[in-house]
């Protein structure tokens, strides 16, 4: 099959079509908006995805062909990744006659801005929420704002505004409602299955259309950097100013974001976002819901991918511990040749994974829980939300007739890689499911891990808390309250 290629990027920006025949592969959407389009309503607060001041919406046709809008942080999103999308900025919200959108009016009425610098980002986050749920509950509002910092208001008036959004009558048509059909057909028209290939050398960027095209491009350019959600790679550019070209973008690759139920479990494509993964994994493994809700904020969850979280090999990535505990495997694709390895074996050492040049992560397979298996996963961080874990621990235990017959325990933040607690597992298996067994197993943590001290936590704290998470796992199984729930009803 010959693949058709295109040498330009096209997307919709508010109500205009943008076509770019030349493009620096690492140009960020934020710089593009502010410097090239002078759309200065979108602000830069950090240039690393953490403050939300740069929040815009990106609309795309999802795998079911539905037009969905998601919040993203434009500071770490590359322009090239927007091919075929609809970018919506704060400038697009107000009616043509100058009337404020209900979300904006609610923010004014409830004194939701003080210095106003966070405000455009907050309005965009609330706008995305309003589209999904015009009458949001407090937990829903808080979740929608996990990716937005405000230093002035203390958030209370913003929450009040979010609660009042629905009461404000819409005087002029919501822009995205009004344009919906037009946008849908424009984006559908752009779905031509072409691979984009622009620029040369380090300035080359490739957007393969299919998994095969990706395999070919990467095999041919093994030094290229793969960009998935760019929630890591974005910072290499904005903070480290690392030269990383050429770039191969993968989020648009058809089929790489597939989610399937297989006989034994769930199969998740590499580019499935945290948001989408959370939806499906929480069904099968209920403990995952609260856990995923504490990965980044909405913007990061919408952009970041499971494949990226694994491929970056970080010892503090949040998805490897539960996936390892569940016994997940990772399938790699090298020029079309596949191999599958247990996830724990993929992580060899700090900064070293079992991945060859030109090889990419294609999917993850996660077995379902068997009868009598319990599963728990916990994240510990300085701040509850949108923080990187000091440590994270996941426990899968088979309890049969009051005895622990199988155990898989994995931790992040305790070693140079996400790592199984094999000594602890050994101290548990074959013994009674009792507090005595738990207490007796605790010293084994010291054989498994020698954690570091850093700004997130001291070595002592990590060790103490890792042990206590095993205690928590046991106590919770006994029905005891052993963790804090901000909104008990929602998280239960």
């Amino acid at each position: 099959m010959t693949l058709s290629t295109r040498t330009h990027i096209r997307f919709r920006l508010n109500d205009r079509t943008v076509t770019l025949n030349t493009l620096r592969p690492t140009e960020t959407l934020l710089d593009f908006l502010r410097l090239e389009r002078r759309l200065t309503g979108t602000k830069e607060g950090c240039a690393e995805g953490d403050c939300g001041a740069c929040t815009v919406l990106v609309g795309r046709l999802n795998r079911d062909g539905v037009l969905v809008y998601e919040t993203v942080t434009s500071c770490i999103r590359f322009v090239a990744s927007l091919d075929g999308c609809h970018v919506v900025t704060i400038e697009h919200l107000k009616g043509k006659d100058g009337t404020l959108h209900p979300v904006q009016q609610a923010m004014v009425d409830h004194h939701g801005s003080q210095c106003g610098f966070c405000t455009p980002g907050i309005v965009m986050a609330l706008y995305a929420l309003w589209m999904r749920d015009a009458h949001p509950s407090r937990p829903t509002i808080e979740k929608a704002l996990q990716g937005n910092l405000c230093r002035c208001t203390g958030y209370e008036p913003i929450i009040r505004a979010a609660e009042a959004m629905a009461e404000i009558s819409q005087k002029t048509a919501d822009p995205l409602q009004a344009e919906r059909d037009e946008v849908r057909s424009q984006l559908a028209e752009w779905q031509t299955g072409e691979t984009v290939d622009m620029g040369d050398g380090a300035d080359r960027l490739i957007l393969p259309a299919s998994i095969d095209a990706l395999a070919q491009s990467f095999a041919a350019n093994p030094k290229a950097t793969i960009v998935a959600g760019s929630t890591d790679v974005g910072l290499w550019v904005t903070k480290q100013m690392r030269p990383i070209g050429p770039l191969i973008f993968v989020k648009q690759v058809e089929g790489l974001d597939a989610i399937e139920e297989t006989d034994g479990g769930i199969r998740i494509g590499a580019t499935v976002s945290y948001t989408d993964a959370s939806a499906v994994l929480s069904e099968t493994y209920p403990a995952m819901r609260a856990y995923f809700d504490r990965i980044g904020g909405d913007q990061v969850r919408n952009m970041g991918t499971i494949g990226g979280n694994i491929a970056n090999g970080s010892p503090i990535g949040d998805t490897p511990p539960p996936l390892i505990a569940l016994g997940a495997t990772v399938t790699l694709n090298n020029a079309g040749t596949h191999r599958t390895v247990p996830l724990e074996e993929f992580f060899i050492d700090y900064g070293n994974q079992d991945r060859q040049p030109g090889e990419f992560v294609e999917r993850i397979d996660i077995p379902k829980l068997r009868n009598n298996e319990i599963f728990a996963v916990y994240k510990i961080s300085k701040r509850r939300d949108e923080d990187i874990s000091a440590l994270a621990g996941a426990f899968k235990l088979m309890i049969e007739a009051g005895r622990i017959t199988d155990a898989r325990i994995a931790f992040g933040g305790m070693a140079a890689t996400p790592k199984r607690a094999r000594h602890v597992e050994a101290a548990l298996v074959g013994r009674d499911w009792s507090i005595e067994t738990i207490e007796a197993a605790l010293p084994a943590f010291e054989s498994d891990y020698q954690p570091l001290s850093d700004w997130r936590a001291s070595s002592d704290y990590r060790m103490m808390t890792a042990k206590n998470l095993l205690r928590r796992c046991f106590l919770e199984q006994q029905g005891e309250t052993a963790s804090l729930k901000r909104f008990a009803a929602v998280e239960a």
Binding site: R34, T40, G41, E44, G45, C46, A47, E48, D50, C51, T89, L93, Q104, V108, D109, H111, S113, Q114, C115, G116, F117, C118, T119, P120, I141, E142, L145, Q146, N148, C150, R151, C152, T153, G154, Y155, E156, T238, K239, M241, I380, K382, R383, R384, D385, I388, D454, W455, D460, Y461, M464, T465, N468, R471, R472, E480, T481, A482, S483, L484, R486
Partner: protein
């Protein structure tokens, strides 16, 4: 007298009241621009053609001599127009705000903290400047850095003279007290994390002139610094600021360097120059709240009444004095919080360290003073097995006696009893505390705590001469008003409040008053918008200016219409001249025709205040603002994680000028204070590198950190006892300290693990780790 008396009774709708006068809730003047993204911050301004961009090159060691600086590769990098080092500064290489000559723009022979600016790259784009910066090759002879306060023990160097406050014989009182205890508290610093980072843009003018747009709380100081660095008189430099995206004290002096570098480069290259550091550079290179180590020694009786107390407040000031003198002074001014000390000695130690020079931050040292004081109250309560609230009450300042502060000012406006009594009732403190103690007996892992803590905060700059302000008001012939004053708008709603005051004076709708950017060209020699004083000072100055014009209008009308001045009444967009109504605009037009000056400058200086620092006596504060908060928390004793379940606040803002804005200051200040005391942790490594230099590692509160139930009320009955602007009170800083209630509630929850017998001595910030470690300490102490 006037022959023609054409009193025009035109038909206009007589409003009952004006829209947007004083004492009503009014939205922020820029709210609609905030929510649409139309509010212009400096980085949003249209750049003059050819604008260049600067980036600062920062030191990579914390202490050492500079051996060589090789910037060839920097100069040769793409897009670079030039490089500036100390030798390129036409005037003085110094921006020390207190004139101590200890803060160079660019380090010359030695660097004293990691992140100290050494050079600047000026390039065609910001990206090019940032990339070029990385190419510098600088070698150092490293010296061991002094990072922590404890590192200074061997050789404590002070960056500025310390202060001693003393009243009575503290040593004697400690000796004779029935009970005595001592301890130490560590209090962390805090990054401002204003959402809009530091930024300045300079546009060169004729001769020596330069215009600077700066994100600053202190345009006059930026003007002076830029003039000083350029070697030109102040009149050559105009500094303008319309709004800033948050300041919190972090833009009182810390914007100076960016403005100075932009100005030097603009003059050097004859083009506009913008300097906007990356967030990480901003956090590394600019100062923060001072961290403190406070030693206390207290004597008290069986009721918990303090008889004598001795404090040492040691502060990490960083490598230069900056504002450390007044900051550490203010810590001492608040070592009493709301309590009377019969005998007291308090000493400050503003210590030199090889860290960034710490600076102003909301409360200006006061919060550190208060936190340590509240720790002492807690210690006494645990030692006597009492509810800390009981100990607080036993020590509150009296109204007629027991009312003299450690600095010999008499507290004349004490309302703390009423504030605390009302909050105790409205928060249902006693019943909830009993419930919590019962809950803690039953719950093994989750423990709860509750605390009700007061705040009394002194209002005025302690440097008396800063307590002055100017304003400029023009009335145009159509009756519209142009308002300008020396304060800066940073989100606190200052512009709105001052405009309300002017609207009220003239009795015209708020939208008739145009709020204009602060500029040194209109109102000179201003003080920083700081110390919560913005509205007190500028509101008064604007009121004076408006009254001057109003008096001229009255004199004119009395004369012109031959009516007594007392019969001329301004009300709701009209003026009643001896029974004949006319619109405000009409009167103004007539006055103009009669050649009445319709522009006035207003000036205000705070009365009554004086301060003798050498003697440690005086009346540094015009008045006090009061408040109290009650917070309840839950902690997880397995991990140290916690959440704030509920907070109730009652805060005194006098007669509020704008309740909505004041409420916003109270809520926002509380959350910011809570961040300081909980998750915001500054972490330096042993080489003196700040490792929490970005929002990824430095965690300010999120929406989901708010108290689950958050009730905030203003003390509606309160009026300022002093003649402050319309009997209101300052609100910027005092609510910050309400967050002490969270720290102490956490402490109580920890204490429950040892049956409340031991004071947990929970230091700040109380991260989950510190909470867990405190539990472990109590376990060990309980076992021993």
């Amino acid at each position: 007298m006037n022959e023609m008396k054409p009193i025009r009774s035109e038909a206009f709708e007589a409003d009952a009241t004006i829209r947007g006068g004083a004492h009503v809730s009014q939205r922020h003047d820029s709210a609609h621009k905030h929510v649409t993204g139309e509010a212009v911050y400096i980085d949003d301004m249209v750049e003059p053609i050819g604008t260049l961009h600067g980036c600062l090159g920062l030191s990579t060691v914390a202490n050492g001599a500079i051996l060589s600086v090789d910037l060839h590769a920097v100069r040769a990098a793409p897009g670079v127009v030039g490089v500036l080092t100390a030798v390129d500064i036409p005037g003085e290489n110094d921006i020390s705000p207190t004139g101590r000559h200890d803060e160079p723009v660019f380090a010359e022979t030695e660097v004293l903290f990691h992140g100290q600016p050494i050079f600047a790259v000026i390039a065609e784009t910001r990206d090019a400047a940032r990339r070029a910066c990385l190419k510098a090759e600088i070698t150092y002879e490293e010296r061991p850095p002094v990072i922590d306060i404890l590192d200074t023990a061997d050789d404590p160097r002070l960056v500025t003279p310390p202060l001693t406050l003393a009243r009575g014989d503290a040593a004697q009182a400690l000796e004779s007290a029935p009970h005595r205890l001592d301890g130490t508290m560590r209090i962390g610093g805090q990054d401002h994390f204003y959402l809009e980072g530091q930024i300045a843009m300079a546009i060169p003018g004729e001769d020596g002139d330069v215009q600077v747009f700066s994100s600053t709380q202190h345009p006059s100081e930026v003007q002076h610094m830029v003039a000083h660095v350029l070697g030109v008189p102040s009149n050559a430099v105009t500094v303008e600021v319309r709004r800033i995206g948050g300041g919190f004290g972090g833009k009182e002096t810390q914007g100076n360097i960016f403005a100075a570098v932009a100005a030097v480069a603009a003059k050097r290259f004859g083009r506009a120059v913008k300097v906007r550091p990356d967030r990480d550079d901003d956090m590394v290179a600019t100062g923060k709240r001072h961290d403190f180590l406070v030693d206390y020694d207290v004597g008290f009786d069986a009721d918990g009444r303090i008889q004598g107390i001795d404090y040492t407040y040691a502060a990490r000031c960083g490598y230069s004095s900056d504002l450390s003198g007044p900051v550490t002074d203010r810590a001492l001014f608040h070592c009493d919080n709301a309590y009377y000390y019969p005998a007291v000695k308090a000493v400050s130690a503003p210590l030199f360290t090889n860290t960034v020079s710490n600076t102003a931050f909301r409360g200006f040292g006061g919060p550190q003073g208060v936190v340590a004081c509240e720790r002492v109250i807690e210690e006494i309560a645990y030692a006597l097995a009492k509810d800390p609230l009981e100990v607080r009450r036993a020590n509150f300042y009296g109204t007629d006696d027991r009312n003299v502060t450690p600095y010999h000012q008499t507290v004349e406006d004490n309302v703390i009893h009423r504030v605390v009594d009302e909050l105790e009732a409205s928060s249902d403190y006693q019943a909830r505390r009993a419930d919590i103690i019962a809950f803690n007996r039953e719950s093994r892992i989750i423990k709860r705590g509750i605390a009700l803590t007061p705040v009394k905060f002194g209002i005025s700059f302690t440097a008396t001469h800063f307590n002055q302000a100017g304003a400029l008001v023009h009335v145009y012939t159509d009756g519209s008003v142009h308002l300008n004053h020396g304060g800066t708008e940073m989100g606190q709603g200052l512009f709105t409040k001052v405009a309300q005051i002017v609207a009220e004076e003239f009795q015209i709708d708020l939208d008739r008053v145009k709020i204009t950017a602060t500029t040194t060209g209109k109102v000179p020699n201003t003080s920083a918008t700081a110390a919560s004083s913005g509205t007190d000072l500028n509101g008064m100055a604007a009121q004076v200016a408006a009254r001057t014009i109003k008096d001229r209008l009255i004199a004119f009308a009395a004369d012109f219409y031959d009516v007594p001045a007392e019969s001329i009444v301004f009300s709701a967009n009209r003026v009643d001249v001896g029974g004949h109504p006319m619109s405000f605009a009409e009167l103004v037009k007539q006055a103009y025709v009669a050649r009445v000056q319709l522009s006035a400058a207003g000036f205000y200086k705070t009365p009554k205040i004086h301060w003798d620092r050498d003697k440690g006596t005086g009346r540094p504060f015009y008045y006090y603002a009061y408040g109290a908060a009650c917070s309840e928390v839950s902690i997880d004793t397995l991990t140290g994680e916690y959440q704030v379940e509920r907070t109730d606040i009652l805060h005194d803002v006098g007669k509020s000028l704008n309740p909505a804005i004041d409420l916003g200051q109270v809520e926002g200040g509380f959350i910011q204070g809570m961040g300081w005391l909980t998750t915001e942790e500054l972490w330096w490594d042993s080489k003196g590198r700040l490792r929490t230099h970005a929002p990824s590692t430095y965690k300010i509160p999120l929406a989901s950190d708010r108290p689950l139930i958050f009730n905030t009320r203003l003390a509606e009955w309160s009026e300022n006892a002093e003649r402050a602007i319309r009997r209101s009170k300052a609100v910027g800083e005092p609510p910050f300290m309400l967050a002490v209630s969270v720290l102490e509630a956490l402490s109580m929850a920890v204490a429950s693990t040892a049956d409340y017998r031991i004071c947990p001595r929970l230091d700040a910030p109380a991260t989950p780790e510190r909470v867990l470690m405190a539990i472990e300490r109590l376990k060990a102490a309980g076992a021993a």
